[in-house]
């Protein structure tokens, strides 16, 4: 058994510099302590495993004696077989193999480097909690437990994956989250068949039931946001190595909500909400409406603007819809460039690029000033609803094509497609346009506008009592 285990571990994990074998000579024979030093706390191994074995008077062939009286590390488990030993090693456990005992044990000594708790850059707030999740599940769960001292809070480990031992942790509040929702999410997670899970999107893809550019799962890097979603009856999914926690179900209306809305004055919060809805309308509808008016329905434009528009486009060689698509493409290039570069340079690139690009496009005759205004207004508006930015850009292109083809009737046809697409999507069995698309009345009072915090329901997914 002793040789068999060592040989197997050696063969499976050879060519790894950090695989360490520590040989101990005891009274009854040899003992090997095997661990991967880069993910283990070496000091803990010395103090709680090696020192007790060497200095304590050990003269037993009973594995329970070592587990209960010799090794002082708090988490000691039995190893089932050679393959299990390899998995435990890779998880940060130290394997203890005895020459004179037929059982093998492992001790939890992992020390995986983790980032400190920082302010999440993607969800900055002016007021309110600033802590953000890290890549470590344990830290993340601790951040939740710190805020939610509820006996019904459940943090279940769900094993997934084929090649390595990967797992996710789903969190929910029993009694508030619907039983069917939790069961559904667990069953979907178990269906994930991949070798590795590096980030949460592997799970999000599995939970997306229909092809769509709109995400049907949400994500957050803020513990306070997750706690609020849990109290509404949603389920959170932690993935090891990903600071973004998945929340499900996720509805269209959540794209317009921000943690800041609840930290500031209710009227100011609702004003900002309205701004986001207006920004959504501008970003989606302004370019196609501009094309409809500037290419099909001149009589709907005030005379002064129509003449100015005609003058500003006099030197532009392209049809209006090509001009709009071209400019939107330029703005997307800028946006992507700004995202990919380091933050200080990225911001400068975005601002300088947009200014220069717009100015030069007009000066070179590639675009008219009014088109630059329309496209930049629409593009800036997408920044108010960043979760949907790409989805909007794609749908704007669709609307532009149908509008350029048929004018306002084409615009309405395209918009009807857009609405029907949204209405056809579901998130974990709930309509994506929730609370639209349901015949029941729900407790949720945080829709287009939010109410006073005392009135906002604790469970948005629970039906009103009759």
């Amino acid at each position: 058994m002793y040789q068999q285990y060592l040989k197997y571990i050696n063969s499976r994990l050879k060519d790894n510099y950090d695989l360490t074998f520590r040989l101990l000579e005891l009274e009854f024979g040899k003992v090997q302590v095997v661990f991967i030093k880069s993910i283990c706390d070496v000091e803990m191994i010395s103090k709680h495993i090696i020192t007790p074995l060497l200095h304590k008077k050990v003269n037993s062939r009973d594995i329970d004696f070592y587990k209960s009286e010799v090794i002082t590390q708090n988490n000691v488990e039995d190893v089932v077989n050679e393959e299990d030993a390899v998995k435990q090693l890779l998880s940060g456990y130290a394997i203890v193999v005895f020459e004179f005992i037929n059982d093998v044990i492992c001790c939890d000594v992992k020390k995986i480097p983790a980032r400190n708790i920082e302010i999440p850059p993607t969800e900055a707030v002016l007021k309110g909690p600033r802590e953000g999740f890290t890549e470590s599940i344990d830290i993340n769960v601790a951040l939740i437990r710190k805020r939610l001292k509820d006996k019904d809070l459940k943090c279940e480990k769900v094993i997934i994956g084929e090649k390595a031992d990967f797992f996710v942790v789903i969190v929910y509040i029993k009694g508030i989250a619907q039983e069917t929702l939790v069961t559904y999410i667990k069953s979907e997670i178990k269906k994930v068949k991949v070798g590795f899970i590096i980030e949460g999107n592997y799970i999000s893809e599995q939970l997306q039931t229909r092809s769509s550019i709109f995400d049907t799962t949400g994500f957050t890097e803020k513990p306070d946001v997750l706690v609020s979603k849990l109290t509404e009856g949603r389920v959170g999914i932690f993935v090891q190595g990903d600071p973004s926690v998945i929340t499900a179900p996720f509805f269209f209306i959540e794209n317009f909500q921000s943690p800041n809305d609840y930290s500031i004055n209710i009227y100011a919060g609702n004003y900002v909400r309205i701004l986001r809805w207006v920004a959504f309308a501008l970003s989606l509808l302004l370019p196609p409406l501009y094309i409809a008016l500037a290419t099909h329905h001149f009589s709907l434009i005030p005379r002064m603007l129509a003449f100015r528009l005609a003058i500003s486009r006099a030197g532009v060689p392209f049809p209006t819809f090509i001009e709009v698509i071209l400019l939107m493409f330029f703005f997307q290039l800028l946006r992507e460039a700004g995202l990919r570069l380091p933050q200080p340079i990225g911001q400068s690139i975005s601002i300088v690029g947009a200014l220069i690009l717009g100015d030069v496009a007009v000066a070179s005759g590639l675009a008219s000033t009014i088109t630059v205004l329309v496209v930049s207004l629409a593009s800036i508006s997408t920044f108010l609803i960043p979760n949907m930015a790409i989805a909007i850009v794609v749908w704007v292109d669709v609307l532009i094509l149908t509008t350029a083809w048929l004018g306002l009737p084409g615009f309405f046809i395209g918009f009807a497609f857009f609405c029907s697409h949204l209405a056809g999507i579901t998130s974990c069995g709930y309509p994506y346009l929730f609370p639209l698309g349901t015949l029941s009345k729900y407790k949720n009072k945080d829709n287009v506008m939010t109410g006073f915090l005392k009135n906002v329901s604790n469970s948005s997914l629970t039906k009103d009592e009759e």
């Binding site: 500037a294 001149f298 129509a306 003058i311 486009r313 350029a404 083809w405 004018g407």
Partner: protein, 372 residues
């Protein structure tokens, strides 16, 4: 699925030109359309147009005004002829006025109206009017207040202090009125008057019966006609000073309400009474010599003066057109609505105007003490 999307996008892009797609800079906009007749009574269409232009010389964009003329047997042919000279398709989306010359109006508007009524760009927005004079001179007239003649005409028609005809103003209004009652309407008559320099005036009226211009209303006649026939009339009423001979006072019309009724006894010898009750709210605007408006007697005299003027001028106008049997007051239409069985062509001739005028002069309150 992907193939379907690619085919859809391809179809949309390829078939773009099949529909009414037209870039705004590749369009010639008409600003005013004038219909005249040649010696053979065939239409000549004049259009004042706007188009945008890229100047290679200055490397800049600009808008240019141009006058286009088309001839043909019909309006459609004339417009087609006009399109032969236009650099891009002519669009009437921003046409502000549809003007018929007096010659064309006297020949008969019905010869030309149909094509305009069928085009919603002409039907709904442009003002319709008759022009007395040479259309070329009108289009060449130097207007300092606007760059385009059409825009200037639009502005003077919309000027709230203008006392021109307010109904029918647009083609769709005339299109419905021309089928009612005696089919007689009064339209705006535009003239160019030589004062210090040539000026456009739209204060006169053209009487059109069965789509043919048959008479005119002078500026004074138009003013009295609008007071008794059209609500929301604005402008001034000038009457002699109640205390000083040879001096005048002016009152501004704030509001006028009109109630119309027609009464007929049923016997052949009975006179048809065409009743009008006009309620006028006026504001005292100015006097040539002091007037004591705090004196109730003076105020009564002013009110009586206004009533007298309106009744006198209205009756004179009524009489004038009754003698010509041109029913510009809509007597026949009203009679036909109320007594359809008794209606015959002589209704207007056998009618009599009964005008009741209530005048209120608005001013500051009489209250001088809050205790009372």
């Amino acid at each position: 699925m992907n193939k379907v999307i690619i085919v859809c996008v391809g179809l949309i892009v390829c078939l773009m030109g099949c529909k009414s797609y037209q870039d705004i800079n590749r369009t010639v906009f008409t600003v005013v359309t004038i219909v005249d007749l040649d010696e053979d009574n065939k239409p000549i269409v004049y259009m004042e147009t706007f188009r945008s232009l890229y100047s290679q010389e200055n490397a800049s964009e600009k808008g240019e005004r141009s006058i286009l003329t088309g001839r043909g047997d019909t309006i459609a042919e004339a417009v087609l002829d006009l399109n032969q000279m236009a650099s891009f398709k002519i669009m009437p989306s921003h046409n502000k006025a549809l003007i018929f010359t007096e010659k064309a109006a006297r020949y008969g508007l019905d010869n030309y109206l149909d094509i305009f009524i069928r085009d919603q760009d002409y039907l709904l927005r442009p003002f319709i009017m008759i022009y007395e004079g040479d259309p070329k001179a009108l289009l060449e007239l130097e207007v300092t207040q606007e760059e385009f003649m059409g825009l200037y005409i639009e502005q003077i028609v919309q000027n709230e202090f203008n006392t021109s005809i307010t109904y029918p103003k647009r083609l769709y209004e005339y299109a419905s009125l021309r089928t009612m009652g005696d089919k007689t309407d009064v339209m705006i008559l535009m003239t160019v008057e030589e004062r210090e320099y040539p000026q456009i005036f739209i204060a006169q009226g053209a009487v059109v019966k069965e789509d043919k211009m048959v008479d005119k209303l002078t500026m004074e006649e138009v003013r009295i006609f609008t007071i008794i026939m059209e609500e929301h009339t604005s402008g001034y009423i000038t009457i002699p000073h109640p205390e000083l001979q040879g001096k005048y006072i002016s009152l501004l019309m704030m509001k006028n309400k009109i109630k119309t009724d027609i009464q007929y006894g049923g016997k052949q010898e009975d006179v048809i009474k065409f009743k009008k009750k006009v309620t006028l709210r006026l504001s005292f605007e100015g006097t040539q010599k002091e007037i004591d408006l705090s004196d109730e007697k003076v105020r009564k005299q002013v009110e009586e003066g206004v009533k007298k003027k309106i009744i006198k001028e209205s009756e004179a106008l009524y009489q004038k057109f009754r003698n010509k049997d041109i029913d510009i007051f809509g007597v026949k239409k009203n009679f036909q609505n109320k007594y359809p069985q008794e209606y015959d062509g002589s209704v207007f001739k056998n009618s009599q105007l009964e005008l009741e005028v209530d005048v209120y002069i608005e001013g500051s309150s009489n209250t001088v003490n809050f205790n009372h």
